[in-house]
Each structure stands twice: as C-alpha cells, then as structure tokens.
C-alpha cells in the first residue's frame, strides 16, 4: 500500500466492505435482515461513488449517485 493515495485506499475499503456485505447477505435467513443489509450495501455504494466523484472532480456522478441510492435506502429502511 506504499504510495497509494488515501482516496484509493478508502475505495478499496469500500470494495472490501461490499464483499463482506455480499457474504453476509448470503447467510441471512430472515428477509428483514436481508433488506437491512441491502440498504447498508446501498450506503457503501453511495460512499464509494462519492469518493470516485470527488477524486475525479466530477460533480454530476456524485449527485446522480446521491439521488439514486439515498431514496432507495430510505425506502428499504422504512
């Protein structure tokens, strides 16, 4: 990891968390837990997209991500 920028390290962390959440979803027996994990996965994806947007200096990607995943997350949490 020597010389790797911080945003790339954070992106790697997000990717690792996504992998963990995917395996956690596989092991769920109750649908409510599955939905909660799906919401959490959406949040991690949202953060990852924001990170990419900030590192690429692209506002549209971040806004699009925020618009698409946040309502989905709120809906699934409800």
């Amino acid at each position: 990891m020597a010389g790797v920028p911080l945003d790339v390290q954070l992106l790697n962390l997000c990717a690792a968390l996504l992998l963990l959440l995917s395996f956690a979803m596989l092991s769920q027996r109750r649908i409510v837990n599955l939905v909660n994990l799906l919401a959490l996965q959406g949040t991690v994806l949202f953060i990852a997209t924001l990170l990419i947007a900030s590192s690429a200096d692209s506002r549209s990607t971040g806004t699009l991500s925020r618009c698409s995943t946040s309502p989905a997350r709120c809906w699934s949490e409800c």
């Binding site: 990891m1 790697n12 962390l13 990717a15 690792a16 992998l19």
Partner: protein
C-alpha cells in the same frame, strides 16, 4: 550464529515462560473487575503451579506411558512455539528451521497428544473432552492457516520474523485484508484457548466443558505442566497476533541491541491491552452451545477467506 541472536532467543523463551501465567492472572483479574467481583491475585496462577509441583502424582489404573508423557510433550511443544514467535525480536535462530506453518503444526501436535492422553484412561469425560477438543481444533486450524497465508502473501514469505519485519516497515495505510484476518484470528484465539464464547475456562460443567475435560485425570506435576502449557498457548497466540497485526516496537535485524530491551516494556503494554480486551469480550458475550461452535469457527474461516480474496482482488 551471533551472540545477539542467542540472547534474543533465550530472552524470548525466558519471558514467555515467566510471563505466561502472569498474563492468565491479568485476564482473570480484568474479568473479575468487569464483573464487579473481588479480583484474585495476579500471582495466583504461579501459586497454583508451584503448589501442584510439590504434590505427589496420582495416576489412574490402566494409564499407559502416553498418559505420563503427554504433559511433557504438550509443554515442550508450547515452549518451542514460543521460541519461533517474534514477540520481542526478529533475530531468532530457531526460525531458520521452522516457519509459520511449522508453528501451526506444533500447536496441532500438542492438541493431538492432549486428546490421546484424555482418551487413554477410557473415562467418559476424557473421551468427550478429547472429541470436542479435536472438533474445535480441526475447524480452527484452517482458519489460522488462512490468516497466516494472507500475511504470507503480503510479505512473500512464511517465516514469521520476516513477516513481522515486512509489516512493521510498511507505511501506515488501510489494509482491509489484514482487518478481516484480524477478526478471524481473534475468533480462532478465543476458540483455541478455550475462552468464552466457545468454552468457559472457569467451569467444570460436563455439558459444556471442552478443554478442562481433557485434564480431569491429571494431578500434581502433570497438571501443573498442562496448566502452564495452556497459559503458554494463550501467550503464544497473543504474540502471534502482535507479530501479524501490531508488529511495531519489535527489535529487527537492523536495530541496535538496546532495542531488544526497549521491546520488553512495549510487549508488556501490548499484553496488558490484549488481556483487558480478552476479558471484555468474555464479559460481554455469552457461552455458545457446543453445537454452535462450528458455526462460530466457520465464520472465522469465512473472514480469513474474505481477507485472502480482498488481498488477491484488490491488492489491499
């Protein structure tokens, strides 16, 4: 072989032998504090071992030579394991002939002899404990190996001192693969050392005990060696954890000989923190049923595999 290497090796062995019962005493003391009980003395494990060494051994009828030899083999395996793990310095001559896989093999040898000795007498409890010990062992061992493989892949070697040196000299950063394997290692540590949630070291209830059931027939010096070996095992596991995940402060090949002395208080601080964490985990978690132990260890293995996948896919 240089004098500093011999000194490092001897110092590591002496510190491990001396500090292992103290570490167990510290964990017991922290547990008592967290549970609002009056804490036992820090020196109680030493007193227990000394008392047992002064007693006459009572050996069951029909006990074979294996039963008498097993405590010495188990204790020797733990001492050799302590010599391989770089807890204070990486200049260890023993590590030239034994790497991390050999270390796992040593721990497995101790377990096998303990299980054989428990079954040797032929009592129901001994056999029950041996079977449970092996069940936990065969599930924990792959997870431990996987944890070591992740660290080996990062450092491109299976020698523990080289892994420690490589990880200690890395620049600070986020390592998701190491974070996952640290969780897996913690779960393996709890299971292998018969701690809550897998086993309760403070109970002799026949429905739940695992490790204690294998020691029921031992007395006097044999029991003292087994107790000391159990303390050494916990100490060794803690030091493996430090070597893989908190490798800073260890005297490396390039450092001055004084760094070896400076690493002793740092090891004490690490052990104190690890003991407090262990006691906290044991206080806040409930004992699992024996049949849930495979699920617990499967989760540990999954975490270790995830660490491996993250390292292979992301290189992080």
């Amino acid at each position: 072989m240089r004098p500093i290497e011999i000194i490092t090796q001897l110092l590591e062995l002496i510190v491990a032998l001396a500090a292992a019962p103290l570490f167990v005493g510290w964990v017991n003391q922290c547990r008592a504090w967290l549970q609002n009980r009056s804490a036992p003395s820090l020196w109680l494990p030493y007193r227990g071992i000394r008392k047992l060494f002064h007693k006459d051994a009572v050996i069951a009828e029909g006990a074979s030579r294996l039963f008498r030899l097993a405590p010495y083999i188990v204790f020797a395996a733990m001492v050799v394991a302590a010599g391989i793990i770089p807890s204070m310095g990486t200049r260890l001559p023993l590590t030239q002939v034994a790497d991390a896989i050999a270390l796992v093999g040593l721990l497995a040898t101790a377990r096998v002899f303990m299980a054989l000795a428990a079954m040797d007498i032929g009592t129901a409890f001994g056999t029950l404990g041996a079977r449970r010990e092996m069940m936990v062992g065969f599930l924990a061992e792959p997870a431990l190996l996987m944890v070591i493989f992740v660290a080996s892949l990062i450092s491109a070697t299976t020698a523990l001192p080289a892994i420690t040196e490589h990880l200690a000299t890395q620049t600070l950063g986020l390592y998701p693969s190491l974070a996952f394997t640290a969780v897996a290692f913690l779960m393996v540590l709890l299971a292998e050392n018969a701690r809550i949630p897998v086993d309760n070291p403070a109970t002799h209830l026949e429905l739940t005990m695992i490790h204690e059931a294998t020691l029921l027939e031992y007395s006097a010096r044999h029991l003292a060696l087994m107790e000391w070996a159990a303390a050494l095992k916990l100490f060794n596991y803690a030091c493996i954890g430090f070597a893989l995940f908190i490798p800073w402060g260890v005297s490396t090949r390039g450092s001055a000989p004084a760094a070896l002395l400076a690493s002793i208080p740092l090891l004490a601080v690490k052990l104190a923190a690890a003991g407090a964490l262990l006691a906290l985990i044991e206080t806040v978690s409930a004992k699992l049923r024996v049949f849930r132990a495979p699920e617990f260890l499967a989760t540990a293995f999954l975490f270790a595999v995830l660490g491996l996948l993250v390292h292979l896919l992301l290189g992080a």
